[in-house]
């Protein structure tokens, strides 16, 4: 469907038949008008039938915030189904602190959070900048190349290898496992095609990283994620699947989201040439542009909770056991919370006010690192290459969870 057909469909389809969990909406980038209609007509919407069973959609900023801060009622627990609209298969579920409630969530999260504390970020800034410069200096001029592979994946994979202190030459294995962890196995483009195959690949990841974990458990603590997990009271003895889940969480969280913001920024600036020029004229806007990119791109499409008791959101009665899905893509475009939300405006009054990192106890632990990586990328990019031209359409990921961009052809003028 083209844009006009999509808009027409979104406006005439029966409300009951709207199913925003369809991954195709995100692959085709046609999700927008369905959410605009839900926010207008039925902001807390019940979908009776979907591939993932019945679920509630929460589409407005303030309602999402209400769910975010009430973890006593809206649980993330893996046993209840976890944090995505699609449950992990029962015998293959992979708990991790994002799929836990307090107190266990708190204990495990606190083990890893020092890696992204302000002092450590300041220590890492020089290294990140040096690598960013090297990657940018190596880019071809006057020819079309894939921004995702050459820049976004390269930079975020390097970051991940550093955070894990992973063997440098094998670092693309981390990217592969990240892609496996988020893969929708029904997509032809998926690196794995069944839940069993996904589990088998993640088992290999767990064994490879488990070997390093065991080695580091024998050595004095150092400041990488594996060593921190190996020495952390709450994480040193995790069962196999919990270890697998925790590694998947840190690998996906530590790269995939930032990867897509690195690509999405180039796209957004190309779609809004006036804003691109504003940025060239005043590079001090970079930090605020970075926040705006993160809002506009919304790298995580949704998070799901499960109601532990009967409750109410936006006047709707939620029953104990119901799936409640917070659509960040929609809340970030809610005009009641964000002025002129469909526009990409790099000098907004409060650019950090967006839902992309989530709120409440599960708020993205690495949000400051992500901002730092993006800020450095643009600080080094602008003076070198004031123009990055988008040469064709982006290919997007078939997923209702990660708002992924698989490739983007670009050109740096010769």
């Amino acid at each position: 469907m083209n844009d006009i057909a999509v808009r027409a469909d979104a406006d005439k389809v029966a409300l009951d038949d709207i199913d925003v969990s369809d991954p195709k909406l995100y692959q085709d980038d046609t999700w927008y008008p369905y959410f605009a209609r839900l926010r207008r007509e039925d902001p807390v919407h019940y979908c009776r039938q979907s591939l993932y069973g019945p679920y509630w959609s929460v589409t407005k900023y303030k309602d999402i915030m209400q769910v975010e801060v009430n973890h006593q009622v809206y649980s993330s627990a893996s046993e209840l189904g976890g944090i995505a609209v699609e449950d992990q298969p029962k015998d293959m579920d992979r708990p991790s602190f994002i799929r836990m409630d307090p107190p266990k969530h708190d204990e495990q999260r606190m083990v890893v959070s020092p890696v992204v504390a302000p002092g450590n970020l300041a220590n890492m800034e020089g290294l990140i900048r040096e690598r960013t410069i090297k990657v940018l200096e190596g880019l071809p001029r006057g020819e079309t190349f894939d921004w995702v592979d050459k820049v976004s994946v390269e930079l975020t994979t390097m970051m991940l290898a550093t955070l894990f202190d992973y063997p440098w030459d094998d670092r693309r294995q981390l990217t592969y496992w990240s892609d496996v962890a988020i893969a929708n196995v029904r997509s032809p483009e998926s690196p794995v095609h069944s839940e069993e195959e996904k589990f088998a690949e993640l088992t290999k990841m767990t064994e490879a990283l488990g070997k390093l974990f065991n080695e580091r458990a024998q050595l004095p603590p150092k400041f990488d994620l594996l060593s921190m997990l190996a020495h952390g009271e709450a994480t040193r003895n995790m069962p196999f699947r919990e270890f697998m889940g925790t590694l998947s969480l840190l690998i996906v969280g530590g790269n995939d989201t930032t990867r897509n913001s690195m690509t999405g920024g180039v796209m957004a600036l190309n779609e809004h040439p006036g804003e691109y020029q504003k940025l060239r004229d005043d590079p001090s806007l970079i930090p605020s542009m970075v926040s705006e990119v993160i809002r506009y791109v919304t790298p995580v499409i949704h998070m799901r909770r499960t109601a532990k008791e009967d409750s109410e959101i936006g006047g709707k009665q939620i029953k104990k056991g119901d799936k409640v899905v917070m659509w960040y893509v929609s809340g970030n475009r809610d005009p009641e919370a964000i002025e002129d939300p469909d526009n990409f405006i790099i000098d907004r009054a409060r650019p950090r006010q967006h839902l992309s990192f989530g709120f409440g106890i599960h708020r993205c632990v690495g949000n400051r690192l992500a901002e730092l990586q993006l800020r450095i990328l643009w600080e080094e990019l602008l003076p070198r290459y004031p123009v990055i031209e988008v040469m064709g359409p982006a290919r997007r990921t078939y997923s209702n969870f990660i708002h992924g961009i698989r490739s983007l052809p670009v050109r740096i003028p010769a």
């Binding site: 801060v69 999260r109 606190m110 992204v116 504390a117 002092g119 970020l121 950090r352 106890i361 708020r363």
Partner: protein
């Protein structure tokens, strides 16, 4: 109106008057005092308005109730100390006239 002193991590001081009933966070944001981000706008949901309450004022402001949302959020704030509070959860009152708060090295 109660006067509140905000001290940035660099040591730079800002003394401003904040109306009774507003939060200490709001006082900083409304006066463009750097060092407090308040990304969530005062919902106790982001821990980016973290401050250290001056020892002399701890009795007046109190400390977070264990198990509360504030305590939970603060447990993830980098650099939390026993005198840490989320400033969106401190309501300005006449009893806090003269309050001194310090900012951490960064908001997480």
């Amino acid at each position: 109106m109660p006067k509140i002193t905000y001290i940035e991590h660099s040591g730079r001081e800002h003394q401003v008057e904040v109306p009774v009933g507003l939060s200490v966070m709001r006082g900083a944001v409304d006066n463009n005092i750097p060092g407090i981000d308040a990304d969530c706008g005062g919902e106790c949901a982001c821990a980016t308005c973290h401050v250290y309450v001056d020892a002399a004022w701890l009795d007046a402001t109190g400390t977070p109730v264990p198990g509360s949302q504030e305590a939970s959020m603060l447990s993830f704030a980098a650099l939390a100390q026993p005198n840490s509070r989320l400033s969106c959860q401190i309501a300005v009152s006449d009893a806090l006239d003269g309050l001194v708060v310090r900012m951490p090295e960064g908001q997480h």
